[in-house]
Symmetry: none
Subunit: 219 residues, 2 copies
DNA sequence: GCGTTCCTGACAGCAAACTGAAAAAGACAC
DNA sequence: GTGTCTTTTTCAGTTTGCTGTCAGGAACGC
């Protein structure tokens, strides 16, 4: 299994790498977001191990960027504080699991195994929605009446958010956050446009408008 | 729910307070860090709404101080658009969530609900009413015989008030205040109309008329 | 019966949401 | 680099449906 470790604390990074190498995994290491981006461009990794507290800032943005570009590479985030907000932001940004430092190396192995099993594993969990639409969140694929529908990365980013919270109405602002960098506010009706496109591709029934509030997908 | 709002822009502060008061929350307001510290000493708040750009300096220090003293009071920080670093610092300092100004008041409510739910541990406080109607006050959703019913924002504003005070008869005047800004007199039968609309959506039994007094919902 | 209070269908005005199209920005091959 | 194709964003015209108002009628208390 090919693993990319993004971590700037050298002691920790070395310990993790030794442990994983000993377990027969292929580990590349980068100490910054910039390096990581370069390495990700060159190689297809099976798992991404991502520290959120990097010197050059936004580990989360790296993850968000990846997801926006359509990558489904499993990602486990490493966070220094036992901070619920970090964890939730991370999971929202597209992380699959998280570990709070300091962590046990055996637990890391266990999580890695779990995550990769979830992905390589046979039964991808399909979520069924109204209108004959099925969604494979892990595999980033959508079927309409059994036929595969291709979504662009933005379309997916938006739809993904909604499918992950079925029954809950999400405001346009919340949905914008799935589309753009933190705080990069946009002053047009982009969300409306993407909802419109998704409806054309998936049928009218899937996404419901709650006027004055936002949009909702039912499970 | 008892909320402390720390915000120096009076217009914003008033808007937030009105909105939350209308939603039945108890809101205290302070315009500076010093005041906030005093108020925090005197009262146990359920949520802290903290602007990071205060005149007397660092709202962040207030938060760090709280956390250092072992307080786990949930905190939502309010930041301007361009202060991404603030936001990250805030989350690191122990904030649970953030809102970018200008924000939608309904979204504020949603975040508040989410944060407090996260802490109280009850994910879905459903209230059951007569006529097979269930209400999720935090999630702003209503089920009738297990089927989701969509309410418009005005309909919800009114119904929310009644469900929060089950068994208590509310006058039309009281209910009007849930619908409009404080003091905005309205000289028509709007409340009656909305009660009628709610009954059509939820069934006749849910809202009872107390002639000459007002309306009541039973738990 | 009477007067009062409440209910509800209808409707116009308006803001929110939808959508087609075109411009702008990226992606990719060459 | 250039050209071509796809995706993203913006804009404007149209549609939708929420809202407040009213009027006629029903229900209630007397």
């Amino acid at each position: 299994m090919r693993i990319l470790l993004v971590e700037d604390e050298m002691m920790l990074a070395d310990a993790v790498r030794d442990h994983l190498l000993a377990a027969g995994e292929a580990v590349d290491h980068s100490a910054s977001v910039v390096d990581a981006e370069i390495m990700l461009r060159g190689t297809n990794y099976d798992v991404l191990l991502l520290d959120l507290n990097l010197p050059d800032g936004k580990g989360l943005d790296l993850l968000r960027d990846l997801r926006r570009k359509g990558s489904a590479t499993p990602c486990i985030i490493l966070t220094a504080q036992d901070q619920i907000s970090d964890r939730i932001e991370g999971l929202n940004a597209g992380a699959d699991d998280y570990l709070v430092k300091p962590f046990d190396l055996n637990e890391l192995s266990a999580r890695l195994a779990a995550v990769s099993r979830r992905y390589s594993g046979n039964p991808n969990p399909f979520v069924e929605l109204d209108g004959g639409v099925e969604v494979d969140l892990a595999g980033r694929s959508v079927l309409r009446d059994g036929v595969q529908v291709d979504l662009t990365s933005r379309e997916w980013a938006l739809f993904d958010q909604m499918v992950k919270r079925p029954g809950q109405t999400l405001s346009k602002r919340q949905l914008e956050e799935a589309l753009y960098e933190f705080g990069a506010e946009i002053e047009s009706n982009t969300v409306e446009v993407y909802v419109s496109r998704l409806r054309r591709k998936l049928g009218k029934e899937v996404i419901k408008t709650v006027r004055g509030v936002g949009y909702r997908v039912d499970g």
